[in-house]
């Protein structure tokens, strides 16, 4: 089986002229000398693909790549049987490995991946973890109730739950006017965009942490959800007590429907990993963890995207739109949008072109 004479297809050859084949005393060296032109051609193409993707590769080279790869792979398997030249064997092993990553690892470009992600991949991943979403939702509701009940029984809990920078004027016993003021609007949009950027950065960080903690069997993710929602429950108690329940709900709903949804998904994705590691079913733990981790990663990419939107909503419409109806409309519209997108939008799966 003589290697195809691919070298002649190309004008330039970076390969230095090899020694005369007939001068080699060993059969295995002659075998190598006959084929090393193709190997080096392959190495050259692979090297350029590693440097800059497919842009630096001409069409002919791209067509030749699979053939050259198979030549090298078959050379390796023949050489293992016939040659004792350790240097050539290790060269071929390294070359076949490198070429393998490029030939069988045609990665999607970022934009192709992103398109698939937006047009179905994300919502499919969310639906796939529906059970975890339900559990996380239950935990979040329970956390809110717990927060409310704790503070209702003993107001000291309020100071334990709410971090210092929130408890400015929003403390038990504050007047209705003081509380109303915190729900008010800003007069102008000055500095609100900085607020949006830092909100995004902070919230996305918390969501990523909630996801990452899922690795410890999901328990810390749930604790994080409970803690955050208890805070919300305590605040609700405060505002409802001052007869501002509807206003508070409107104020919260503007960004809350998006942000709380994102936190819900992040917690659910973390829980999904933890759950599949604790109960891997008929797969091995490692396989189950990898499958759920990749699914969770898709959800998380979406969560970061939702946090961007939530940050923008929190900074601009919430601080600028003052009416209860206006706030409810914005928040409600986003909630409807997310629910539709995740659960009603079900495009057919686009097959990966391998």
């Amino acid at each position: 089986m003589k290697a195809p004479v691919l070298s002649s297809w190309f004008g330039k050859s970076a390969v230095a002229a090899p020694p005369d084949i007939e001068s080699a005393a060993l059969r295995s060296d002659r075998f190598r000398l006959e084929r090393e032109g193709d190997w080096q051609q392959l190495e050259d193409i692979v090297k350029r693909m590693e440097k800059g993707g497919l842009r630096r590769i001409s069409d002919e080279e791209l067509l030749a790549l699979p053939t050259l790869y198979r030549t090298a792979a078959s050379s390796l398997s023949v050489a293992r049987e016939t040659s004792l030249d350790a240097a050539t064997l290790s060269y071929l092993e390294a070359l076949v490995q490198r070429a393998w990553f490029q030939v069988y690892g045609p990665r999607k470009g970022f934009f192709a991946w992103f398109k698939e992600f937006i047009l179905g991949g994300w919502s499919r991943a969310v639906r796939e973890i529906w059970l975890d979403v339900c559990i996380a939702l239950f935990v979040m509701v329970a956390g809110t109730i717990v927060g409310w009940l704790l503070v209702a029984q003993n107001t000291d809990w309020y100071y334990r739950l709410i971090p210092g920078d929130f408890a400015d004027t929003r403390v038990p016993g504050a007047s209705r006017e003081a509380l109303m003021e915190t729900l008010g609007t800003e007069d102008s949009a000055d500095r609100l965009s900085i607020f949006a950027a830092s909100l995004f950065s902070n919230n996305a960080g918390v969501a990523i942490l909630a996801f990452a903690l899922g690795f410890a069997f999901g328990i810390p993710s749930l604790l994080l959800l409970v803690h955050n929602m208890a805070l919300l429950g305590a605040m609700m108690w405060l505002f409802v007590g001052a007869d501002l329940g509807v206003e508070f709900a409107a104020w919260l709903s503007v960004h809350g429907t998006t942000e709380l949804f994102a936190i819900l998904l992040a917690g659910a994705a973390g829980l999904h990993i933890g759950r599949s590691m604790a109960f891997p079913g008929d797969k091995s733990v490692l396989e189950a963890a990898a499958a759920s981790g990749r699914r969770g990663a898709v959800v998380m990419a979406g969560v970061v995207f939702m946090m961007v939107i939530a940050g923008l909503l929190e900074a601009f419409p919430r601080q600028l739109v003052g009416s209860v109806e206006g706030r409810f409309t914005i928040g409600g519209a986003f909630l409807v949008f997310w629910l539709t997108y995740f659960f009603l939008y079900r495009p057919a799966r686009v097959e990966d072109g391998l």
Partner: protein, 309 residues
């Protein structure tokens, strides 16, 4: 194409070697990256990370100073607008550096960050399939609990500010940090949930053929004495493949002073009288003829692993 040789059974393969079976049925050995090289890559990445952040901070300060100067005479609002824009850019930049640097680099065609490239390692899918964007995202989202949180806790816990909560947190996060030490594939937590591992990315150059020059060539003879070494069947059956490859390494290394003792050992073993001055030609000829014999036997399915076999 001949049937694949299984490498798994062979005893002389390194412990950190794993196998990848291509669709052609060929086993390719891949080496797991050592913990040391991964740590080195991480340190290098952090170095780049901080260098870039410092560079951007200085740039921002420089531009901010410029903006303040330009707008000071016109209006205060103009200046604050420009500064606000810079602040937003800076916040977003920090976020994307923290979460995006590793992801963006590992999504590239080499599947490696700059630090990994320098030490010669890369990320690969553990099942031998392709490395998907999901896997890269998953393995890097866990960096938070493996690296940033443990470091925060370890730095703050001894201060006692957080009390026993801080110490407990530090211990707990340390488990994630030292995860690669607790499994045989050096997987960190992110590798586990992404189904990836980190392997060496070899860059082996094709070495010279051995039997085309010097005394190893078919018509070769010693350049010093002009003698042509010929070895008999009995003399060549003393050694096996292991010794052949040691000899190959020695000849390729090109260190003449190391040849003497080897020459002497071989001569004594095959019952020749060791001379001096022509060691290289002797060893080249011995290498070529030993390899010809062993490869000839190999074609008939007879292999001799080493001199004891």
């Amino acid at each position: 194409m001949s049937a694949a040789v299984s490498l798994r059974g062979l005893t002389n393969r390194p412990k950190q070697e794993r196998y990848l079976v291509t669709p052609e049925g060929i086993e390719i050995p891949i080496m797991l990256a050592s913990k040391g090289s991964r740590l080195g890559a991480l340190i290098l990445d952090f170095l780049f990370f901080f260098l870039v952040i410092y560079a951007v901070v200085y740039l921002v300060i420089f531009v901010a100073g410029g903006a303040a100067d330009t707008f000071a005479s016109d209006s205060i609002e103009g200046a604050s607008g420009a500064l606000e824009f810079l602040t937003i850019l800076f916040i977003l930049f920090l976020f994307f550096m923290r979460y995006g640097y590793f992801m963006a680099m590992e999504l590239g065609p080499r599947s490696a960050t700059w630090g990994k490239r320098i030490v010669g390692i890369r990320v690969a899918a553990r099942d031998g399939g392709r490395l998907t964007p999901e896997a890269v995202i998953a393995r890097n989202l866990l960096r938070d609990i493996e690296l940033f949180m443990p470091l925060v806790f370890i730095m703050l816990a001894p201060g006692g500010e957080w009390g026993s909560y801080g110490v407990a947190g530090a211990v707990w996060f340390a488990i994630f940090m030292f995860f690669p030490f607790f499994n045989k594939d050096n997987l960190r937590a992110g590798d586990i949930i992404a189904g990836t591992w980190v392997v060496e990315a070899p860059r082996t150059k094709l070495a010279e053929t051995m039997s085309t020059s010097g005394a190893a060539a078919s018509s070769g003879s010693s350049t010093v004495t002009g003698a042509k070494y010929e070895f008999g069947e009995a003399e060549l059956s003393v050694y096996g493949e292991h010794e052949l490859q040691v000899l190959e390494r020695l000849l390729r290394e090109d260190k003449d002073e190391a040849l003497g003792p080897v020459h002497e050992t071989i001569c004594r073993k095959i019952g020749w009288d060791p001379g001096a001055g022509d060691e290289r030609a002797f060893l080249e000829a011995f290498y070529a003829q030993l390899r010809a014999k062993l490869e000839g036997d190999m074609r008939f399915g007879k292999r001799k692993a080493n001199k004891h076999a």
